[in-house]
């Protein structure tokens, strides 16, 4: 196991700066997920940590030792690639033992290590096969096995589940989590899938355009997003955003602020808006599961809407509703048997002030109460 510390890491390809000064601490044994949209620099950052790319600036410390100039193979890391990268001309056993063979380890010892890793992953019966004779899921296990055999200080995963179908992805996700619990090896995992990030990571690092937008525990990021990007990126369906204007702080002791939506509705949100003045344009954010659907109600704080689409997911239901003056449909997550009026009906959407988020004109969140 090992800790990893990044300070001011930057990377440019020609004129294009893809990583812009990243600071990150990864503790010994921690499972950290780097998540972000395509092109945000997460894979480049992983490759820099692996030693497959050199940073243009900044320092990488592995276990407290500056490692910028240490070759990839000597960093004590093993990587699982998106394509698995299993050598097609070698059997599964040869693939898994290749690193040990290069290191000059005795054949018996290689066989024992391969066998141990195969037992952990339950792939002992596949050892004599070649990669082309394996299914996607089996290849994935072999790729993980190849990493385990090396007994690395850090596991690096580069979108390892993206080539699997949905059912296998969910199953492998659980296995990776189990494996981490068992081996307790520091793990850095790259994905663009926020569900994978939320379920696997002890710490999530949300990247966007080469910078860290926010890092923290999954629940912390979900409940207290630092900005509009993180709020919109984590959660499915994503958070609903409504344009609004700050009216006033209604009660100073509870920091409950009044916000007027573009359709004129006045709603209350628990947020500390000390740095803003009344009249400031803000964005109100409400997660789909925080909305409550009610029959059309003219009560204060209820947002008038019209049911546009209903998606039945079996265990739940997503209601998409149109709010007057808002370009996007609002998504509302309800129970599968919730009494939702049919498409075209008028409804009211309500939420608790402590369950909403407020963002300033730059997208930065006002701290919740």
């Amino acid at each position: 196991m090992a800790s990893v510390r990044l300070r001011g890491i930057g990377k440019s390809f020609g004129d294009q700066e893809v990583i812009k000064g990243i600071d990150l601490d990864i503790a010994d044994g921690e499972f950290v997920v780097l998540v972000g949209p395509s092109g945000c620099g997460k894979t480049t950052l992983l490759r820099i940590i692996a030693g497959l790319e050199s940073p243009t600036k900044g320092e990488i410390d592995i276990d407290g030792r500056r490692s910028n100039d240490i070759a990839a193979a000597r960093r004590g890391m093993a990587m699982v690639f998106q394509s698995y990268a299993l050598y097609p001309h070698m059997t599964v056993a040869e693939n898994m033992g290749f690193a040990l063979k290069l290191a000059g380890v005795a054949k018996e010892e290689i066989a024992a290590s391969v066998s141990r890793a195969a037992d952990i992953l339950q792939i002992g019966h596949l050892l004599d096969r070649r990669p082309k004779a394996l299914s996607g899921g089996q290849r994935q296990r072999v790729a993980i096995g190849r990493a385990i055999v090396r007994r690395p200080g850090v596991f690096l995963f580069d979108e390892p589940l993206s080539n699997l179908d949905a059912a296998l992805r969910a199953q492998t996700r659980v296995e990776i989590a189990r494996l981490h619990k068992e081996l307790k090896t520091t793990t850095i995992y790259v994905t663009h899938d926020q569900a994978e990030a939320m379920t696997l990571g002890e710490k999530i690092v949300v990247l966007n355009a080469g910078i860290i937008e926010q890092a923290g525990t999954p629940l912390d990021l979900y409940a207290r997003p630092a900005n509009r990007f993180v709020a919109g990126f984590l959660g499915s369906p994503r958070m609903n955003f409504l344009d609004a204007q700050l009216e006033s702080i209604a009660e100073s002791d509870t920091l409950l602020v009044s916000v007027r939506l573009t359709d004129g509705t006045l709603v209350h949100v628990a947020a500390n808006t000390n740095r803003a003045e009344s009249g400031t344009s803000v964005t109100l954010g409400v997660r789909p599961e925080q909305f409550t659907v009610m029959p059309r109600d003219p009560a204060p704080g209820a947002i008038a809407a019209k049911v546009a689409v209903i998606e039945h997911l079996g265990d739940s239901m997503i209601v998409y509703a149109q709010v007057e003056g808002m370009p996007d449909l609002m998504a509302v997550k309800c129970g599968a048997d919730a009494p939702v009026p049919p498409v075209g009906s008028g409804i009211s959407l309500a939420f608790r002030p402590t369950h909403a988020h407020l963002f300033d004109p730059h997208g930065v969140a006002f701290a919740p109460d």
Partner: protein, 277 residues
């Protein structure tokens, strides 16, 4: 299901292919027919497709003349050396151009491609002078060395290495492989077919090469088969049966090599063109 309308076209294509195959085969059959008849029949005023008297006399005489085994040995040695060394030079150069980063890489590659455009004939004089200065005239090294740099082979290998997924290299690097080990354990094994295909192409080229050995070889003992054939003509006068026998014997090893590795060559060519998924 194949439509019946396609049948006439299939017949036309088959007939055309058969005609072309016969056209290609005719000189070879004629050479065999000439080699298998007595010398006096080859100059007979009456034309016969097949020998009137079948005999291996011409082959026996060519062997008895003494030099053919030596020329065959020279050709085999030179062709094998050229093939192995050209592969070694081309594969390592192509890997460096494809996968490694070093200063001046693009310029060096462009330079090697420019060499591709220069006809060999234009290099004969400087090469001969160089070999002379190195005292390599009439030596195996003198025949082999100038044939080792093959821009086409480098280009084909580079294109192939470019197409190998970079993750293989990265995985091997993470596994602790040096650049040489990445090439040896990953890139070469996955390039097996193309290596075979290019080896056969280079081998045939080296076996049939006439011009450079003609310039650099001065003694009969160092001659390769194509050069030896001209000597056969001189030694026996116009003895067509023996000339054809020598030509057939000289061409047999290379034809055998092709037949033996035909499948690998085809697979390699397909892999190089990307037609095989």
């Amino acid at each position: 299901m194949r439509s019946t309308a396609a049948l006439p076209w299939t017949l036309v294509a088959l007939t055309a292919s058969a005609a072309l195959a016969l056209l290609w085969l005719a000189p070879l059959l004629w050479a065999a027919s000439t080699a298998l008849r007595p010398e006096h029949e080859t100059v007979s005023a009456v034309f016969h497709w097949l020998p009137q008297t079948w005999t291996l006399d011409a082959f026996a005489k060519v062997f008895a003349a003494g030099s053919l085994p030596r020329w065959l040995f020279n050709s085999a040695l030179v062709a094998l050396l050229v093939t192995m060394l050209t592969m070694a030079v081309s594969i390592t150069a192509a890997y460096a151009f494809s996968q490694m980063t070093f200063r001046g890489k693009r310029w060096l590659f462009a330079l090697s491609m420019i060499a591709f455009m220069l006809p060999f004939e234009s290099l004969i004089v400087p090469l001969f002078r160089l070999m002379n200065q190195l005292r390599l005239i009439d030596t195996y090294a003198g025949i082999v060395l100038p044939q080792l740099v093959s821009p086409v082979t480098i280009y084909v290998f580079k294109q192939f290495f470019d197409a190998v997924p970079g993750d293989f290299r990265d995985a091997a690097v993470m596994d602790g492989a040096s650049p040489w080990q990445v090439l040896r354990y990953v890139y070469l094994p996955v390039s097996g077919n193309i290596v075979w295909a290019m080896s056969i192409v280079v081998f045939i080229g080296a076996w049939n090469n006439f011009l450079w050995p003609f310039i650099v070889i001065t003694s009969s003992e160092m001659m390769t088969i194509p050069l030896g054939l001209t000597q056969t003509q001189d030694a026996f006068g116009v003895r067509y049966a023996q000339m054809m026998a020598a030509a057939l014997l000289g061409g047999t090893p290379v034809a055998l090599a092709y037949v033996l590795f035909q499948r690998r060559v085809t697979e390699g060519m397909l892999a190089a063109t990307g037609l095989k998924g």
